[in-house]
């Protein structure tokens, strides 16, 4: 009888061990990388490139899922509330920390409801102006904006978007009264900039690159702390006199809180192997 009880107990313990996610057996089924914005959004490319290579290193498929809504809050909340077993992780970023303050009742706390895994990549934003704006650089923009206080407008992809917040910080830094015009997405803002109906906007550099290269908009400054290799001739706002100005859109992986440390470490190691600069840049 005692032997039977002991055997049953050992069996239960073994079953529990098999059912739990330790780094030893993790991952033994497909993982999901959740990006809480629609396909084609700024971070899409970053996530998809990483998912493919991580799948090779982990030996399991990594499904890239778009789950847009509420400025990224809905999808990120799914990860925050998920089982901490390592199979669902978030491609998070600047929006996580912005939502923390901007929403009256955020669905999660970005500092306590997630376990950080790795800071992955950064994309600078850029200040672009309508082609016929008289200003060509930050000092000239400041002078022009002060001379035209209350008569200028900047566009954005919507309230709370990185394009809004970048321009909001910039406008605050140049100390002028410029009206914000929120659009439903960056496309409408860009169209109106091209048509000269608004004066400037602050998109992610990649998004603006075709227009900059095509000469249909005027690049004024990179808004990140360093120049971009994509546009090395364009000086940063910091270099042009706005000391310390830095608006960079960043991306990182996050797991739900209470995810076992060995899983966090393994996901980090795989990410890190994928993201050593030369291989990633070659991709």
């Amino acid at each position: 009888m005692r032997l039977t009880v002991l055997a049953l107990s050992l069996g239960l313990l073994a079953g529990a061990a098999c059912g739990s996610a330790t780094a030893g057996d993790w991952p033994n089924r497909p993982l999901t990388m959740l990006y809480p914005f629609t396909a084609g959004s700024a971070g899409d490319g970053v996530g998809r490139i990483l998912a493919n290579r991580m799948a090779e290193l982990l030996g399991q498929p990594v499904i890239f899922e778009n789950a847009g809504g509420a400025g990224g809050m809905t999808g990120a909340n799914r990860v925050a509330k998920a089982e901490p077993d390592g199979y669902l992780f978030l491609l998070g970023g600047t929006f996580n920390v912005v939502n923390q303050t901007m929403y009256r009742q955020p669905l999660y706390n970005v500092e306590t409801d997630f376990v950080p895994v790795a800071l992955l990549a950064e994309q600078p934003t850029v200040l672009i102006a309508r082609k016929d704006l008289p200003a060509n650089n930050i000092p000239e923009l400041i002078a022009y904006a002060r001379a035209n206080s209350g008569r200028m407008q900047y566009g954005s992809a919507g309230i709370g978007s990185i394009t809004h917040l970048s321009c909001m910080l910039l406008t605050s830094a140049i100390g002028s009264d410029v009206t914000h015009v929120p659009y439903r997405g960056g496309g409408g803002a860009l169209q109106d900039l091209l048509a000269g109906r608004i004066d400037y906007q602050c998109p992610i550099l990649t998004v603006a690159l075709p227009q900059i290269q095509g000469g249909t908009v005027k690049p004024i400054a990179v808004l990140g702390k360093e120049r971009s290799p994509t546009l090395p001739a364009l000086a940063t706002a910091h270099e042009q006199g706005l000391e310390g100005f830095d608006v960079t859109n960043w991306y990182g992986f996050f797991l739900p809180k209470d995810t076992p440390a060995p899983i966090v470490q393994k996901l980090h190691d795989v990410t890190s192997r994928r993201c050593r600069p030369p291989p990633c840049r070659r991709k």
């Binding site: 917040l165 910080l169 600069p277």
Partner: protein, 42 residues
Amino acid sequence: MKAIGALITAPERQSPEYLRGHVTREVEKWGRAIKAAGVLID
């Protein structure tokens, strides 16, 4: 990554500990700016 304008972070900035500190600094930076601008969404 370069083609999509993304810069891979340097290895010393990829650790979980670095990201934890980065999140804290970013919450503070954006929180200050957003509160100053009075942007609040219900």
